[in-house]
């Protein structure tokens, strides 16, 4: 039988989705379709005539509204086109599962813990660092959401925050307070995007109000302040100055600070910097010639 004859019999035309032809050829046509789409697929606006439509109702039925919302907002900034993929929606679903499972682990630990901002004044280095990172994420999120409506980067920030919190093991009451604050912030941040699951989690925290009635707290500027440490700077092995840098500064940041230091300039004048060695938290050595 010629392909043409099969197509005529089944009323398939050359411009139709290949899906209709594969259905006539195989029981397990989906397997073939996946391969053909992966190798030859072209992106096109969803339309009935191309039979490349994803039905919102089916997607909600399968993954839930929160997943659909999260995926749509994560896939691209609002103005840009994006291509709907199964991997994409499944990724969003996995993230919400991860968030849910984490919440079920954390809530019993922190439910009865209470905290105020004043409690965080005398934190250990480790907890202060964690809080600083949490509030840095939070402040970035607020900017992405309010100034630019860049939900995709806002969501990426929430994902990083979840990673951070998942790697944190509170050892004492202080730790639990920091964890609770961070977990609540993360839930508030996620709630405009995936409102149902956040409302459920919020209710499990025994809150008086619904999360939709809550307000975002201010970013804690105190938490954002970094610890500064003093480190010696050598030029060709000789101690020339001491500079203050943030404790977690990376080499680029340290380089920027060192090269703008007045006292070091004259040692560099007329010479070229061959190398900058930064031994984290301990020493900077400049090799010049």
């Amino acid at each position: 039988m010629k392909i043409k004859e099969l197509m005529q019999e089944k009323q398939i035309s050359a411009g139709d989705n290949v899906l209709f032809l594969l259905k006539e050829l195989y029981e397990d046509y989906q397997r073939y379709l996946d391969v053909v789409e992966a190798k030859l697929g072209e992106s096109a606006k969803m339309s009935k005539s191309k039979a490349n439509v994803v039905d919102p109702e089916e997607a909600i039925e399968r993954y839930g509204a929160d997943t659909v919302r999260l995926y749509i907002l994560f896939a691209a900034p609002p103005e840009q086109d994006f291509e709907w993929t199964d991997e994409g929606i499944q990724g969003a679903y996995r993230f919400l599962n991860r968030f849910w499972n984490f919440s079920q682990k954390v809530i019993p630990l922190v439910k009865d813990v209470s905290y105020r901002r004043e409690d965080f004044k005398e934190l250990s280095q480790e907890l202060a660092d964690l809080r600083r990172r949490v509030h840095t994420y939070y402040s970035k999120y607020l900017q992405d959401m309010e100034k630019r409506y860049q939900f995709n980067t806002a969501i990426a920030t929430i994902m990083e925050m979840l990673n951070l919190l998942q790697g944190f093991e509170p050892k004492d009451e202080e730790g639990l307070k920091v964890l609770k604050e961070a977990f609540e912030l993360m839930t508030l941040m996620l709630s405009p995007i995936a409102p149902h699951v956040c409302e459920e989690v919020w209710s499990q925290l025994d809150k008086e109000r619904l999360i939709v009635e809550e307000s975002f707290p201010e970013v804690d500027e105190e938490a954002l302040k970094q610890d500064m440490i003093e480190i010696p700077v050598q030029v060709n092995g000789k101690l020339r100055a001491k500079v203050k840098v943030p404790s977690d500064a990376d080499e680029a940041k340290v380089r920027e600070i060192v090269l703008s230091e007045e006292r070091l300039r004259r040692h560099l004048e007329g010479k070229s910097l061959r190398k900058l060695i930064y031994v984290k938290g301990k020493l900077v050595n400049l090799v010049v010639a």
Partner: protein
């Protein structure tokens, strides 16, 4: 530990939010308000992923702003009049009202399942009497101020069904129902004088810079299409033919004049020139083309009218033609043709062997006028006293020189045309006027609104169903009490969507379209989210309405939408049968078994 169960969680909280009314917007202090709006949908019966994306973006913003402490207005409704409902009535015999409200029910449930934070108390459908009566009220305000007026307009007409067709009902020049060749016909129609607002619509685009996508601002500017030029007179004997040109600097090179086929002078001059028959035949042919087809014509065709006009600059006689590529709706419906400096004129001149006289010489290099028109700037030649002048400078100088001779004047024109809001359809807002033999056109008094759509009408697909309803058509004149006929045209649905954002501010008001206070509190819409396809029509019409409302003292803001987000499309991969065969090196003549074996190699 419980596993994640979205189904259970989502239904539970949707119910709870609704029960507690947490998304109801209240008027509090002005500084703390935010109005977040997504373009309301047409109730087709099913939401698609484009809707979901549009509304998810808006909802995330609304929820975020609410949690930032703002009082947020976030409403939803239905752009519910329009053609599909009427087509369903014709094809499936279901009444447009039933079809529409059933679809609204379904779509509302689909939106609910997505957990959008709408204030459902403010829901509206434009086909509700409580809504469209205010369409009618607004129309009467426009009529009273001369913003609405009646004149004849060209429409698509199916001679078989004896009905007016919308552009989307004309498929390759034929009627969508019966396949008959569609013709153009002139019928009396209602227009809105949006052109009176052209300059304000243009000027206020400045206020939107940085807040609206540049692309949208540019499209609106282009659509309004302001151009500065001159109105020149070419005399045919005693009869002046007025042409608008943006290139008065090239008038010495005008070697012929073309009138649009519909220009009232076309037939008259053809009679004078003894070319009546040829021209009539040509006009019949042009009538069969839609405006859209005509403006994208590849083949420019025309007929000489047999008369000559005097070029106001040279005093020489040049031939007068009519041609299919000149549209009556644009400019004056007549153009002067300078083939040396306008490519379209050049093509026409080459086809009909008309003279090409260069009058602008490029500053650098030579130009071969045998190969095409030179449309750039340069120095004037063959232009009498103006020889040697820069062409930009000459625009004004030549216009003023012709003005002194009484043959021209400077003029600003716009591409924007008045808006024809008449639709010869059932499922829309009835235009509230009555025709009386004694009093003429009589507006329906405000206290008699709404003019209701009659429910018992027949949908045969022939004519306007409203016209077939005796109870609707026959009425008495509000002025003199004599028997009179109602207008059977309904409004373009873009009228409905040009002010719905104002109704949301005060949706239950039975005395007014909206109260000034509520509009002042909530307006402007702070963030408006919708598709780029509305860049011109809906967004321009809404700006026009806002300005009209400002003029009659109903609103305070000049612009309705502060920040605009045009969301991108949702795409999905697909492969056509043809593409697969091509990629496998097969044709439809190949065997099915060969296809299967190639496919298994692939998989």
């Amino acid at each position: 530990m419980k596993g994640y169960d979205p189904k259970k969680i989502e239904r539970k909280w949707q119910t709870e939010w609704e029960k507690r009314g947490v998304f109801k917007a209240k008027e509090k202090a002005k500084s703390s308000k935010r109005y977040v709006l997504e373009m309301f949908p047409y109730p087709s019966g099913k939401i698609h992923m484009g809707h979901v994306r549009n509304y998810t973006i808006g909802d995330a913003i609304a929820r975020f702003l609410r949690m930032k402490g703002y009082e947020v207005l976030h409403p939803m409704g239905w752009d519910a009049f329009g053609l599909p409902a009427e087509n369903a009535a014709i094809k499936q015999g279901i009444h447009p009202a039933r079809w529409t409200y059933r679809n609204i029910e379904q779509m509302r449930e689909q939106l609910r399942a997505l957990g959008f934070s709408y204030d459902w108390d403010r829901e509206l459908a434009t086909c509700d009497e409580e809504y469209y009566r205010w369409n009618q009220w607004i129309f009467l305000q426009m009529l009273r101020r001369g913003v609405a007026y009646r004149r004849s307009a060209l429409v698509n007409w199916c001679p078989h069904d004896e009905t007016v067709l919308a552009n989307e009902q004309v498929i390759e020049g034929k009627c969508w129902r019966c396949g008959t060749q569609v013709v153009q016909r002139e019928i009396p129609s209602w227009f809105l004088r949006i052109t009176d607002y052209a300059q304000r619509l243009l000027d206020d685009l400045e206020k939107l810079k940085g807040k609206w996508p540049e692309r949208v601002v540019a499209q609106q500017r282009n659509w309004i299409g302001r151009s500065q030029g001159a109105l020149l007179k070419f005399l045919v004997g005693e009869t002046p033919v007025e042409v608008f040109t943006t290139r008065p600097d090239t008038v010495f090179g005008a070697t012929f004049v073309v009138l649009a086929p519909e220009h009232p002078l076309t037939l008259r001059l053809a009679e004078e020139g003894g070319k009546e028959e040829e021209v009539k035949e040509f006009l019949e042919k042009v009538k069969r083309l839609s405006t859209r087809e005509r403006s994208t014509l590849r083949d420019k065709e025309g007929v000489f009218l047999g008369v000559y006009a005097v070029n106001p600059a040279t005093g020489r006689e040049i031939p007068v033609w009519t041609a299919n590529y000149v549209l009556y709706e644009y400019g004056t419906g007549a153009i002067m043709c300078v083939p040396a400096h306008d490519q379209r004129d050049w093509e026409f001149a080459k086809k009909y062997d008309l003279p090409v006289i260069p009058v602008v010489k490029p500053y650098q290099g030579a130009w071969d006028f045998e190969r095409g028109a030179y449309e750039g700037r340069g120095r004037l030649v063959n232009s009498g006293d103006f020889n040697g002048m820069d062409s930009e400078e000459a625009k004004e100088k030549i216009t003023l020189w012709l003005k002194d001779k009484g043959l021209g004047e400077p003029k600003t024109t716009y591409r924007l045309k008045d808006w024809n809001v008449s639709r010869q359809r059932y499922w829309g807002t009835p235009i509230p006027v009555v025709y009386c033999d004694r009093c003429g056109v009589v507006p329906v008094p405000e206290e008699s609104l709404p003019v209701k759509l009659p429910l018992g009408v027949e949908f045969s697909g022939r004519g306007n169903p409203l016209g077939s309803s005796e109870e609707f058509v026959n009425t008495t004149c509000p002025k003199c009490g004599a028997p009179a006929k109602r207008e059977t045209d309904t409004m373009d649905t873009f009228f409905d969507s040009s002010w719905y954002f104002l109704r949301y501010c005060d949706p239950k008001n039975e005395q007014e379209a909206f109260s000034k206070e509520s509009a002042h509190y909530w307006m402007p819409v702070d963030i408006y989210v919708g598709g780029i396809e509305h860049a011109v029509l809906h967004l321009l019409y809404s700006r026009f309405f806002q300005k009209f409302f400002k003029d009659i003292g109903l609103v305070e803001e000049d612009e309705p939408f502060e920040k605009l987000i045009t969301q991108g499309m949702v795409l999905k991969k697909w492969v056509s049968v043809g593409r697969l065969l091509e990629a496998l090196g097969l044709t439809e003549e190949s065997g099915v078994e060969e296809l299967k074996s190639k496919l298994s190699e692939l998989a």
